[in-house]
Symmetry: C2
């Protein structure tokens, strides 16, 4: 016995597929055969099945489109509303609002309204934007003494023609690593070799657009570097980009580069991806070598990339992930944990749920609710993660931080100093909790299963938001992002249509090594 | 106790007025205060009252628009759907689909989808269209020997700059009257004076664009003249224009003239208006002098005009109606007779009902159902009308028709010959029935009240439709149009948005002398 909601979604998806196939007979059958049935667009309202069928028979096929969000509302036991958003290959968007009625066990459309809009203008920075908040070294600044390393020369490589914004934690041959802090930069040597990940992108044909700022030593999610300024978020003017991969994300969002190469310890790729409307992949821990990278907490640090398009994401992920990586298991099941959804505000929950429904329909994955992970458990996992992260941060950089008092933003300095206070006993207890958490998450996510959650608890806060607001947002977001981090799992933030005027991401987390499965899930339905 | 449907419409209209006034507080209050509320256009879907209110607060006022059709569907006892079509001053159109929910006695919008479309291209004839099917004498054909009479010279008159297509039943000084029949034309004298109605339009500043064809002696509703061809319907390519004011309607629909001057005995203005998407006014019997006009049935013949725009209608009506005409009584009540609605097909009924609802909301008129006129009564009135019309047609033109056997299309000739068979007794009985009908209709339509009905039973049949189809359509349409004719009442066909791809009209009939009230009702809400 299939429940009515499932039957409704099956009927909706059958309709969408028939539309793409221009299967007029199926479309006609899914519209209620009544003189009261309505089909509108901006210019015409057709009333009655006969008129609608005549219109449909006479028009050309609908251009290919991909569902981006599907909203469902129950209006009565036998009436439901579906509002489906979609995007076309040219970036244009569409919305269809449908009223469905259940009659004799069959759902049929009784009213439909469709409308289209052209592609919105690509995000861009206002004239006179201060690019020095994005780049520490832009390609236009390099001179003969310190050129950026060149991409592999053969044309037609996967990333040929694309440019990369490198987070200022990766070694770029001929340059120093700045790590978002002037004192660090001053003490840093000129690198002789590029980091493994930089080299991998160059080998795939990408050219370096610049070295872009990071939050200080990556120990922040805000993207508000007190030394270099706050990079502008072209996708949400007036809002922060989030961090710590702030400069690279800003560059990609503004179209100044195609791929951002970043790191993600506790969300530093996923948060700016969500705030800037980008795809953002955190790779499985230890799958992408971290050679030539200034880390923060080696147990959690992972390389990641951010892109504007699914095609760029697939190409960049391909360049970083080893070809002998385990085979892709198509994701056929997506689990949702209510306690995680509840960490986001209602508007973000709605956007993420609607995006997930679109993704599930498009990929033919089932969506299930997993209640075995509750709020208390999440809270203890989060506390353990923070403990281990702070202890590792202090172990990694304590000496430098202690030797340069006042060189860091106070909040960042405080985070490092808190790590100094953690006792061996506390660390041991926390490590044991994380072992349990990792086991629970790995068990939840066998091959073929992904966890869906909001990438961030909110859309991007405004530049200049109060410390209280930033902390509140950060605390809720960290409880979402820490899961993939603590278990070393791959996680992909997929942009959803906007929440009001701001982007936000749907995050998909898979079992270890399932990076490609996530990329395929998110890009499989792309045009 | 106001019923829920009325309260729904009141809420809908309050919303529409608030939108026009950009009264954001009222708009916000009429949207359900819930995070689940949805508002879409083609480019954006906003979810949650907060997002929608923020959007509304930040946008400029919505451009003025006039509702053209409002469709309502009950989805459940507490949920209803409203689909409202509108037109803007530039001719662009819009559709809003709204789901309303009744909660604690208040209707509020829970989902809205709005979309806009630019003005459709103006109807025009294909290149190479045969204009000789429209004009017997076009302005471009006249020579120095037979120029058209000039308009009154002073500029700035109500019709200055507008052109008139004159039905070939009106005298135009210097020309003969053709009456749609070559034999009639051959026998006709050159007129020395223009008809009263022609002179009235010239005096108001209009220029004659040409003398346009009529169905033979106006005794048809089809517009398919076997001698001069079928004029093209630019508003519904491939369909007939309807008649008998066929040529003038074709000219106005194609933009070759601004005003059609016609006659209406049994629907000859209203039918082509409906088929061609024009305004069409049949004036009160005997209010506009018929001097210089070849009539058909003097008891019913009335002068009328057709126009593309409400402004042209108002100006042309003003030129024809005497200035001392009784004062305008605003129409505050519109009655609908189910037996009349049932004469139209479901698609036309739906279009007309939805147009009437839009008109009622815009004009603040109440709509009531009048069941005192039933199908049996309508049938007996129609039969009596046909009897008197045929008898009068024979009295008027029998001698000519009898003297020129084979000069007319057989169907037209048959109609005249049928009139010869009517006995004095039959005529007396029919006249008595019409007296009763006239009394009943006049009682139904006191000043301030109008009757609403479909202008025609269907949209325009295709050129070449079978005789059976034409007859079927004609029979049902005549039962609708005969009412105003038999009672000498003014009737106005107002174009509604299309039924599928074809125009159709909403007809409004008022008490005798209430011509201006009808024009004001139909044009009062115009932009």
């Amino acid at each position: 016995m299939i429940d009515p909601r499932t039957k409704l979604l099956q009927a909706f998806w059958r309709y969408e597929q028939a539309l793409m196939a221009n299967d007029v007979a199926v479309l006609d059958a899914l519209f209620a055969s009544s003189p009261a049935t309505i089909r509108s667009d901006g210019g015409t309202t057709l009333v009655g099945h006969e008129q609608i069928a005549a219109f449909r028979a006479g028009r050309p096929p609908v251009p290919p489109r991909r569902l981006t969000r599907v909203h469902v509302r129950d209006l009565s036991p036998t009436t439901a509303l579906v509002v489906a958003e979609s995007v076309r290959a040219d970036g244009g968007t569409g919305v269809q609002t449908q009223v469905w009625s259940l009659d004799a066990g069959r759902w049929q459309v009784t009213t439909a309204h469709v409308s289209l809009a052209p592609a919105p203008p690509a995000p861009h920075l206002p004239d006179g934007a201060d690019l020095s908040t994005i780049w520490r070294v832009a390609a236009t600044d390099v001179n003969e003494l310190a050129p950026f390393p060149e991409p592999a020369p053969s044309a037609g490589l996967p990333l040929t023609g694309l440019t990369v914004a490198v987070k200022d934690l990766f070694a770029v041959a001929g340059h120093r690593i700045g790590a978002g802090n002037p004192a660090w930069l001053a003490a840093a040597p000129v690198e002789t070799d590029s980091a493994w990940a930089v080299t991998a992108l160059l080998d795939a044909g990408a050219r370096i657009a610049g070295i872009a700022h990071t939050d200080e030593l990556a120990f922040s999610l805000a993207g508000t570097n007190i030394h270099y300024g706050t990079p502008p978020n072209a996708a949400a003017p007036g809002a922060i980009t989030g961090g710590s991969t702030s400069g690279p994300a800003a560059a990609v969002a503004a179209g100044l580069a195609d791929v951002a190469l970043g790191t993600d310890t506790a969300g530093s790729v996923r948060v700016p991806a969500s705030y800037c409307g980008l795809y953002g992949l955190r790779t499985t821990h230890d799958v992408v070598p971290r050679d030539g990278l200034v880390g923060l907490a080696p147990a959690f640090d992972a390389v990641g990339v951010l892109t504007r398009t699914a095609a760029h994401l697939a190409a960049a992920a391909d360049a970083l992930l080893p070809p002998q990586h385990q085979p892709t298991d198509p994701i056929t099941r997506v689990v949702v944990v209510p306690a995680l959804m509840d960490l986001a505000g209602p508007a973000v929950q709605e956007a993420v749920s609607a995006a997930l429904l679109a993704l599930a329909l498009t990929s033919d994955a089932v969506v299930e609710t997993a209640t075995e992970i509750g709020p208390g458990q999440l809270e203890s996992w989060f506390a353990a993660f923070r403990t281990v992260q702070a202890a590792q941060g202090w172990a990694e950089h304590g000496a430098f931080v202690a030797a340069a008092p006042g060189a860091f933003e106070p909040a960042v300095e405080d985070r490092f100093l808190a790590g100094a206070q953690i006792t061996a006993q506390e660390l041991e207890t926390a490590t044991a909790v994380l072992d349990q958490a990792r086991a629970a998450l790995t068990a939840l996510l066998p091959p073929g299963t992904a966890l869906a959650l909001p990438s961030t608890s909110s859309t991007a806060p405004r530049v200049g938001a109060s410390a209280v607001e930033i902390d509140f947002t950060r605390a809720a977001t960290l409880r979402l992002t820490c899961l993939a981090s603590l278990a070393g799992l791959p996680a992909l933030s997929v942009p959803t249509p906007r929440v009001g005027t701001s982007p936000v991401g749907l995050c998909l987390v898979a079992g270890p090594g399932q990076d490609r499965s996530l990329v395929e899930l998110a890009t499989g339905g792309s045009l």
